[in-house]
Symmetry: C2
Amino acid sequence: MNGADRLCDGLLANDVDVCFANPGTSEMHFVAALDRKPQMRCILGLFEGVVTGAADGYARMAGKPASTLLHLGPGLGNGIANLHNAKRARTPMINIVGNHATYHRQYNAPLNSDVETLAAPMSDWVRSTESATEIGADLNDAWIAAVGTPGVATLILPADTAWNDVPDAPVARAQRPAPRPFEAAVAAQVRQAISRGMRVALLLGAEALKGKALEIAGRIAAHSGVRLLCQTSVARAERGAGRVVVSPLPYRIEAAVKALENVDMLVLVGEDEPVAFFAYPGRPNKPARPDAAVIEYAPPGADLLEALGHLAQELGAERAQAILSRAELPEAPQDGALTGELVTQLVARMLPDQAIVVDESITAGWRFGEQARGAAQHDVLDLTGGAIGIGLPLSTGAAVACPDRKVVCLQADGSGMYTIQALWTQAREQLDVVTVVFANRTYSTLHGEMRNVGVNDFGENARRMLNLDTPALDWVALAKGHGVEAARAGTVAQFTQLLASAIGRKGPFLIEAVI
Amino acid sequence: MNGADRLCDGLLANDVDVCFANPGTSEMHFVAALDRKPQMRCILGLFEGVVTGAADGYARMAGKPASTLLHLGPGLGNGIANLHNAKRARTPMINIVGNHATYHRQYNAPLNSDVETLAAPMSDWVRSTESATEIGADLNDAWIAAVGTPGVATLILPADTAWNDVPDAPVARAQRPAPRPFEAAVAAQVRQAISRGMRVALLLGAEALKGKALEIAGRIAAHSGVRLLCQTSVARAERGAGRVVVSPLPYRIEAAVKALENVDMLVLVGEDEPVAFFAYPGRPNKPARPDAAVIEYAPPGADLLEALGHLAQELGAERAQAILSRAELPEAPQDGALTGELVTQLVARMLPDQAIVVDESITAGWRFGEQARGAAQHDVLDLTGGAIGIGLPLSTGAAVACPDRKVVCLQADGSGMYTIQALWTQAREQLDVVTVVFANRTYSTLHGEMRNVGVNDFGENARRMLNLDTPALDWVALAKGHGVEAARAGTVAQFTQLLASAIGRKGPFLIEAVI
């Protein structure tokens, strides 16, 4: 067998059996090896941003890493924006990047570049395998880094390490790393703070936003009067009727400051301290009150169920009754002009049970969270790193991971154009994704930000950089071009009917909501 | 005025008056400053790969740099593949990347990343401006690096260096750097080699493939019997009837070795030594005969007109008559099934005078070069760095630079999908580009490369990673979705008629050639 076969065996031994790929010449031996392993599901993306974003969506829902396959520095470059998002989501991922043969790199061939340097900023772990015989151990180290951090592990595969022979040897799967420790002593601090009358909030992230851990957080909240918060954008949260409500911090720094003004102690549970997305002249960098205590209880990658259980015990909240969101669908008009707010309201009303909602609606869909509090139970996957162009790929990967659940993608038009090629993968794999495009035909966020810097009257240059009209994108044609059925809605009645029919059938469908 | 205004003034003072842009929040002050400068032409790309590829195409044709405007690490990441191509083309470019305010970077906000590290591999020069007062000097250094290398200069612009005030002061334009020196003594070596019966070839690049320099190379060839060669892919070459013929080295290493087997001395004139695109087990890394002399005469960035003039003088070739390509159009059938070879044959036949041909046809259009030897005079712009996804952006930028010339883009389908958003910019700016898509619905190159590694029978995984069918992309719908008119041709007669009509009108048009 050769190094590439060894790599495939190692992936499968570690239960990594989906490979999102866009290969090139230097990865042909790896492609040939994958071809000899029909138990590996290989999914082509027509652009690498699709590949990395889909691997992110897959892992967020499957709870285990997928592998990617990227072609040299430029292929990695094309995937970097969504690797950034994956790193920020703390998504486990094994990113495999082909490279020139070790002995060919010195000649600086046209496709040569410094792949390791390029990979570093958006990876939690990087290694170039320099010999076929090391590929098994390197892959296991990559898997441990991906799962243990959790995060993006980038393994660079020079062509000759793939094609050189290795001895036939049994493949050992890697030892799963222990969860990272949490600061158990913090629980007593929290108890004392509450008893002294301090107003406490838990900032929940990662596994604390799901299942039993979330429920325990709800008991703590109900029993001890602590507030439950999360970051503005989260990797994955379980929401809807019958679940504990966690309030996201607002995006705008002024509003986030206000949301935290009554918090004397902010306890981090699987999350980092919140900071402003951007700096603005004369405004704060962080939303927490400067005199508030911000305390790390458990890092991401810790056993958050155990950490919350320990805290509940300390506070005597173990048997408390969590307050759960009531089943309550938002009212909606029968007809009339469509707005972003109405689109999300209708989606919330009509959401099927256990849907996966991928939210890259940016400004247009910002009310969805509160509108869907009482909706059917669903998971929300957000844009975690602010690098737009994740919605369509993330939906693609989530649908691969959960073929029995409906994926609803709330997609801003400007962001959707970044990685529109994901629609083709949805068509090819017949993935069950309904994409709702908010066609406002501007970079709407940036209009607000321009007003923030004091510009209200736009000249020609600003208009042409912030608006997407002239010409308007025709999303129905774009979807059709990629092999996905689509239709346009300009009214509430049209949208309601299209969404009902899209939800009622299987397979990809796109609705252009003109707002 | 603020730092952003100072930056705009500096760009304009250095005659950089086109900015290909995709801005975000951290660049709003720069956008506002551009808005105050109507003499700066701002062109929006809906994806950063369009932005950097268009800046490349613009500079190759305008002979001076454009500026880009990219949003933080992820925006830069999206543009990296085409920056790689630009760096390999030695295209002068001023790449401006916004970043968080200097004092906000420490908080590691969601969009934070190590922009300098990310920029390094695909830039010839990188600097982060750390104060508004330094922005003028930094911009001039960037311009000097871009023009002098020539290559990609990346200037990182933290938001506060854009918004902080600077004193109103006159803006000094940068001093153009002197051309890099060439090794004048090599000319005598070449003369002696020829007189000793050595078979000499000149490998021409950069300015040596254009105008008077090319003509002098032709005189040298005619007088002294040296061969004129160039790399497989070149940044820009002037070709067609009445011009000196320069033969590109073949892509495949075996064929390139054969092309150089009779060359005893290879003289580099504005070009690096050729190397194999990829390594293959048991095949050479370089095409030149191991015992051949490979001599650098003039680096890219040298005054190649002067260098070739000096060589001509040394050889006594100054008054020789260069052999020019005869006007001779390839024959073509009237009708029948379309093939890649027929598409390029028809394009060569019908090419209007002074067209700009952007060639990312990869395998399907490989015969165009020889077919167009006797065609109307044209410029060819190639994919220089092997990072696919440059054709549509490069065409976009070339059309901005040369509004009076027809741009014909020969576009492979797989590669075209990488940066298809460029079509929207062509529609918005009403650029005069005819795109011919070679719809073979596979990564055809990779089929060949799989056979190269010994795989002839593809299984399901390989088929699904190398083929673009199921579903077939509908390029007519894709173009329409972006606002570009389009039609499909399946026969020679249909293609001929569509191409004639597309050439006969102004504005963007796309032909899907099903081959």
